[in-house]
């Protein structure tokens, strides 16, 4: 199996994930990883499914694997923040989000998770700043989505 074929497997998995068919998505991601375990995207995508299904420790492990393969993978840092938040490891989650945002400042989810974690840590003022940034980005995304929807 070539890496191109592995990409095809990931695409199939992603198509299921978009429809929240997590079980099916996981089957395709597992297949892709068995053929190409050096693809950070595959570990990241599987981590997303683990998060959606509450398997946070496995999600965290997959994010770390993705980051090992690519230190500058912003999405994997953001997802790691999410997994750490779910595990109530707020300080570490904030650190992961900061790293994610240094690589991609337009990641609304990372800003939001950073805000939520700061809020949980009682750092309310910093949390509001992060929420504000997250909201701005979310609104921009929403407006773009509405535009697409209305053609």
């Amino acid at each position: 199996m070539t890496s191109k074929e592995s990409e095809e497997l990931l695409k199939k998995g992603h198509a299921y994930a978009l429809r929240t068919k997590w079980r099916e998505a996981l089957v395709w991601y597992d297949k892709a990883l068995s053929f190409d375990p050096n693809n950070p995207e595959a570990w990241y995508l599987r981590a997303s499914v683990f998060i959606e299904t509450g398997r946070n420790n496995e999600a965290l492990a997959d994010c770390e694997r993705a980051i090992t393969l690519n230190q500058n993978f912003a999405g994997a840092w953001s997802k790691k923040g999410h997994a750490l938040y779910n595990l109530e490891r707020y300080e570490e989650a904030v650190s992961a989000c900061i790293r994610a945002l240094a690589l991609n400042g337009n990641d609304a989810a990372a800003w939001y998770i950073k805000g939520v974690c700061l809020d949980e840590l009682g750092r309310s003022k910093e949390a509001q700043e992060a929420y504000g940034k997250s909201l701005e980005l979310e609104i921009i995304l929403d407006i773009e989505k509405e535009k697409k929807r209305s053609g």
């Binding site: 929240t20 997590w22 079980r23 299904t53 929420y131 997250s134 909201l135 979310e138 609104i139």
Partner: protein, 344 residues
Amino acid sequence: MSEMKTEMPLSKPVRLLISQTENLLDTEISLIRNPEADPNGTLVDMYTYNVERNIILLPAHYIGLLKDFLIARHCVHLLIKGSAAKKSRYQVCSFTGDSMYRGIHQIYIDALKDEAKKDKKLPVIKLIRMLGILYSNVNDEINELPWNPITNASVYHRMPPLRKTQLYYLMKEGKMDMDAMMEYESVIPRRYFVLSKSMFYARDQYLAKTLPADELMPVVNIPQMKKFNHLEVKEMLTTRWTHTSWYQSRIFGDTMLEIMEKYLQNIDWNAEPGLDYFHEIYKTGVKMTDHFLSYMSMKGWFVWESPKHLLEAREKKAAYEFGALKKIFGDLIEKSAIDGDTET
């Protein structure tokens, strides 16, 4: 592996509100993100539907405060429904064969008046089909709209961190409601078009009066929202209406607003939020709805009944509609007229 998702990052005030709602109602709330969910989110609750747990369906692309705002609004609505169910009876505007006849008959008379003034008449078959559709539309609106200003005002007062989000959402929702039905403007009787818009107009005006505050200045630094800069919510919610063709009929909207204010001004939005408190809000909403129906001369159109009654009425809608049309048109009407198969 379940497709359900109940664990997702939530801002602290929303997490606390969910927990408070679950405790007060002794129930569970599941949050599910779905790519095909309605942009307003959907509350599928055990007081309305035959389900074992309450579900809030959210659009998948809402990941942050937009999601939190929708959750907050649905939680408040759930508290209102649940408190009514626990303290007395939770009822909605349902319909029967007789009440549907009264509604459809009135719409028909109004439609005939409008048609008499038109150069281009509506084909009879279209007019007949419009009667039932419009009746159902009014039923849906009267069951939803009065609760919108209530839940919004409650979220505004109880959850200050969500105010900027609320501002954006109200602008968006108001625009959607303003645009709704525009393509049917020439089909439905003018009276109903005006009344429907009046309810939305009153909602916007009420919220503009209730919500203005410094925190509600539009979110800056968003290029797409630049045109709203330096406007307060009031201006934003009101100015848009002045640019619509509907605006000349705003006298109805102003009266609707007076009705809304009459009932909602007595609610202490910051009072201790217990079951009694939300039950009182429910009763206020019911009274306000009755007043709307009375003002719109629709008093006999609907009956206050259980949500189960409404669900069953919807299943029987075609039969009720056919019965109503038979009463109006006699043997001229055939079943196919409402099924859309052949000409009458």
